[in-house]
């Protein structure tokens, strides 16, 4: 029944920023996502809140910027988390991934979206998703260590 809106706001915003590459647009879309979530009486308490939020956010991002995700990740963002050298090495490897794989890494390992929600978002089986994530993780780990 409960959703930590404060935490999810940051995560949805990060997801929108990753898709739109613009702070203002990401913030607008994040707020619109939550407004639609608040206005809904159909899905918000059916135990599929995260799936619903990410679906709204994704659709709004697509509406906002109808373009494929081909841009590399931005380089100059200040971050308190992790070593900047590691992040740079990792960023170059992430840029080699397909846009969908990159988004998957963001959702699973940065935004910590549960596996069952991701399976429904991507319409794949848990096993297929697990294999895909393990392959991606192995690739990123090799890059970070090598």
């Amino acid at each position: 029944m409960t959703l930590d809106i404060d935490r999810e706001y940051d995560r949805i915003y990060r997801y929108c920023y990753y898709r739109l590459r613009s702070r203002e647009e990401a913030e607008d879309v994040t707020q619109e996502t939550f407004l639609r979530y608040f206005a809904s009486d159909t899905y918000q308490d059916t135990g599929r809140t995260l799936q619903y939020l990410y679906t709204i956010a994704r659709n709004l991002c697509i509406d906002e910027r109808r373009r494929p995700l081909t841009q590399p990740l931005p380089e100059d963002l200040p971050s308190e988390e992790g070593d900047p050298l590691d992040a740079a090495a990792l960023r170059s490897e992430l840029n080699r991934l397909s846009p969908e794989d990159r988004e998957l890494v963001l959702l699973r390992y940065v935004n910590e979206v549960p596996m069952n929600v991701l399976c429904k978002l991507y319409g794949v089986s848990r096993f297929a998703l697990y294999r895909r994530l393990q392959d991606l993780l192995k690739r990123l780990r090799q890059r970070l260590e090598g």
């Binding site: 029944m1 409960t2 959703l3 809106i5 404060d6 706001y9 940051d10 915003y13 990060r14 920023y17 990753y18 702070r23 990401a26 913030e27 994040t30 707020q31 939550f34 407004l35 608040f38 009486d41 159909t42 918000q44 308490d45 059916t46 135990g47 990740l73 963002l77 200040p78 971050s79 988390e81 992790g82 070593d83 900047p84 590691d86 992040a87 090495a89 990792l90 960023r91 992430l94 890494v105 963001l106 390992y109 940065v110 993780l137 990123l140 780990r141 970070l144």
Partner: protein, 236 residues
């Protein structure tokens, strides 16, 4: 996932801090229901006669057991299946009246509502049995834990059976089958008392514990299946 990779990923996907977050959340602050609050809201939907019926059965158990000889106290204890019948019948009320699909249109998830109501009734029944166990144990000259096992086993057995029947049959016929199953468990309890000498002897207690564990597992499984069924309905 190791911490180094996790931190590096967080840094790689870093986003500038949002500017309007606090103002937005202040303007649209919502109060989400906590587990206890949710449970209490659902308690209000349980019909009054279920509570009264449960209390009536509890009183009947004590009245019948009062003044009995030590072994005959357990005759009254075999009434506990009727408590389970009341709890399960409340959980399946919408399905019995053919309103379960309509409930799916409600704002709250049906599975969570059923689980909350059955949890509330289960806790209430457990409290009643918790009060009855030391009293009956004292009258029969047994330990409270032992009395608790004798009270709880038929209760859980009936709950598991009735939930299974409610899932299998729709409409008011499900209640008839549930009542028949409850009566059968009650008869089994009576037979244990009168026909099978020694069912309540101390030597048979390990067997009772074994059955209790099995019925507990069956009840949990049946509850899970009952709640799961609503999800299948919702998305099919």
């Amino acid at each position: 996932m190791d911490k180094k990779l996790k931190n590096a990923l967080s840094a790689a996907f870093a986003a500038p801090p949002p500017k309007g977050k606090d103002a937005f959340l202040r303007a649209h602050r919502r109060r989400e229901l906590g587990t206890v609050e949710w449970l209490l809201t659902q308690v209000g939907y349980i019909r009054w006669y279920i509570w009264m019926g449960s209390l009536g059965i509890f009183a009947l158990i004590l009245c019948l057991a009062a003044g009995q000889r030590s072994e005959e106290v357990w005759t009254a204890a075999s009434l506990t299946p009727f408590l389970a019948l009341l709890a399960v019948s409340e959980g399946s009320r919408a399905r019995r009246h053919g309103m379960d699909e309509l409930e799916l249109a409600c704002r709250m998830p049906v599975g969570a509502a059923i689980l909350a109501r059955m949890t509330a009734l289960g806790l209430f029944d457990l409290a009643l049995l918790g009060v009855a166990a030391p009293i009956l144990g004292n009258w029969a000259g047994r330990r409270t834990l032992e009395a608790g096992v004798y009270l709880l086993t038929p209760y859980l057995l009936t709950a598991a059976l009735d939930m299974e029947l409610c899932r299998r049959f729709r409409g008011s016929v499900s209640l008839v089958y549930c009542a028949a199953a409850t009566g059968a468990v009650y008869a089994l309890g009576m037979l244990s008392q009168s026909g099978w000498a020694g069912a309540y002897r101390a030597e048979a207690l390990p067997l009772w514990w074994g059955v209790l564990v099995l019925t507990l597992a069956a009840s949990v499984l049946e509850t899970f299946k009952t709640v799961k069924r609503t999800e299948v309905l919702q998305w099919s």
